[in-house]
Chain length 355, copies 2
């Protein structure tokens, strides 16, 4: 494959189409990372670093404040939705249009067109966000080069439908398990039915009232849900195990330890095995940079229900928000698309804020 | 493989060892069926028929009563437990010793040594009992040659540990299902959790008090049990389905229709999908032939908790019981074995009854 070249003189919507047409499924971002690196190195006002398929560029103007604009280069697997297609209604279709090559295009356009922003800016483009956390490029940068991510405030250009989303919820998964004793189902009284023993687990989940938690003026809606259940061996055997996988989404003012303690309390009397956990991120909207950002964009901030990499910035002590042109509901769908107008609006608003 | 020859002049325990040493895993019974057929055709007082790998032999003495003695030739897969081995304590070890080549050996010995029994006797040896019902040789004979199975009373020589087991329970499986609506688990309020909706299904099962039903003086213990449960798609998705597979074991005085109506009543308000069903068999112990049989053997009858092919005879209008030398708890185990003394006792008792 010939190395593709990005033309950053076009607007952010046109750049989005260029990016979408360079496939970059997770762990196969090299071509796109090469193109992004080459385009950034051509800009004399930036210094550029690379680690694996992550690229970081920055201005070095000695401004009082530094902001980080971050986005991931990878997409979920292509679902027969490439190359991109612009329809007559100004909608651009294709894998990654929404999540999140439109956001990456806005980053690249700002990098190209703002040689002297009013704040120093670090542009972070990273790999492997869409797969297991161990591969996450931003996590790797935070471990190997935390200085590359330093800043007073960060904006993650994940799709947020043009809203400013503060912080994010934590997420945790546990297996709540019961044990029994096998027996032939014709002689059930010789066994102990582990599936029947799971009845109170489901009853507690069904009766559970999730909290609605105000944090920094935003209301986070928690959730405690069975997402998987499995039990039993064969249709003539009394089952000796049952396991309910429960996902707890918790407001960012609750730590992982507190969240686990809460889950253990709900399932008191049962074996609770932690399988994975990620902390939330406080919205940090009271930080002056965040206030200025929200004011500049002129939008009401909203809570982020899901989990995003803003939590990684939060763990580094950098207040962070989500703001991007895509629609999160379209992420990972075959029908993924973005409105050209939304991409241009994001470009314009961020440019105004940094000018 | 040279065609093996059975020597029916030896006692039933020795014949058991001969049978065990001719492997006959389900659908691979040909060699054994050939040997059984050849041994029976050598007996001038019997007429012999064959269908596939099932062999049926009978006396034709014009007696007032005809009894059927039936057993299957196949075994479960060999578990490193062949050839047979007779230990110093008089225990014969090996695949099929208990289930049910010791029973088949008793049939063959009676066929060979009783040229003029006091009742006409039909000896049925059939294939493929240990696998899915569609392959069952007795079922095939009942469909193709019901006259071959005609009789006033039947004894199935399945292992019953030397007890007389009257009739058998029915068995039925249903899927009790809930439906919901998928959503991202970070926004659970947009979905409807099908696993949570299953809570009352498990609660009803846990609270269920199975009947203990007297039929013809025997007490059958019913059972209603979840044997499998599954639900959910992924750990970040609110599940839109949950299915509990329930096995109902019901006393033989309840029909399949009545059993299903009962299950539907228990799970009122839920989708109940019938997946499979087999009727029970009434013990029929009040039939004169059965009374004579139980008296002759001098044992207390017991109920059969499981399901056996006596139900097939029952469906043909032939009262049937289980009586065999093996131990049903050893069936299908690597440690399968039978006591020589138990085999000889069964041979002796049945011979006394037919003399």
């Amino acid at each position: 494959m010939e190395q593709p070249v990005l033309d950053l003189s076009q607007d952010a919507a046109a750049v989005t189409a260029q990016l979408v047409d360079i496939p970059s499924v997770s762990l196969e971002e090299k071509h796109l990372a090469d193109a992004v690196e080459a385009a950034l190195r051509a800009l004399p006002h930036l210094t550029v670093d690379r680690d694996g398929d992550s690229v970081v560029a920055r201005t070095n103007l000695g401004r009082a404040e530094r902001v980080v604009l971050a986005g991931h280069l990878d997409t979920v697997p292509i679902a027969d939705n490439l190359p991109s297609r612009l329809d007559a209604d100004g909608i651009l279709w294709g894998c990654g249009t929404s999540d999140m090559k439109s956001g990456v295009a806005v980053q690249l356009r700002l990098a190209a067109t703002l040689p002297a922003p009013n704040r120093d800016v670090t542009y972070v483009f990273y790999d492997a966000e869409e797969i297991a956390a161990e591969f996450n490029g931003l996590k790797r940068l935070a471990e190997r080069h935390p200085d590359w991510l330093a800043g007073d405030f960060a904006v993650l250009l994940e799709p947020s439908d043009g809203k400013v989303e503060g912080g994010c919820q934590g997420t945790m998964r546990v297996r709540v398990e019961t044990k029994g004793r096998r027996a032939h189902s014709a002689r059930a009284w010789l066994g102990e039915n582990a599936i029947h023993k799971a009845a109170p687990i489901l009853a507690r989940l069904a009766a559970y009232e999730p909290r609605q938690v105000p944090v920094d003026g935003l209301t986070y809606r928690e959730g405690l849900n069975a997402v998987l259940i499995e039990g039993g061996h064969a249709t003539n055997v009394i089952p000796d195990f049952c396991a309910v996988t429960v996902n707890y989404r918790f407001a960012p003012n609750r730590s992982e330890e507190e969240a686990l303690a809460h889950v253990r309390e709900v399932f008191d009397g049962y074996d609770v095995v932690l399988t994975d956990s990620a902390p939330g991120a406080l919205p940090g909207l009271s930080h002056p940079s965040a206030v200025a950002f929200v004011d500049a964009l002129g939008l009401e901030p909203a809570p982020k229900d899901g989990w995003t990499d803003v939590a990684l910035f939060s763990a580094l002590g950098v207040p962070a928000v989500n703001y991007g042109p895509g629609d999160p509901k379209l992420a990972h769908t075959r029908e993924e698309h973005v409105a050209v107008a939304a991409v241009l609006e994001a470009e314009e608003k961020l440019k105004a804020w940094l000018s």
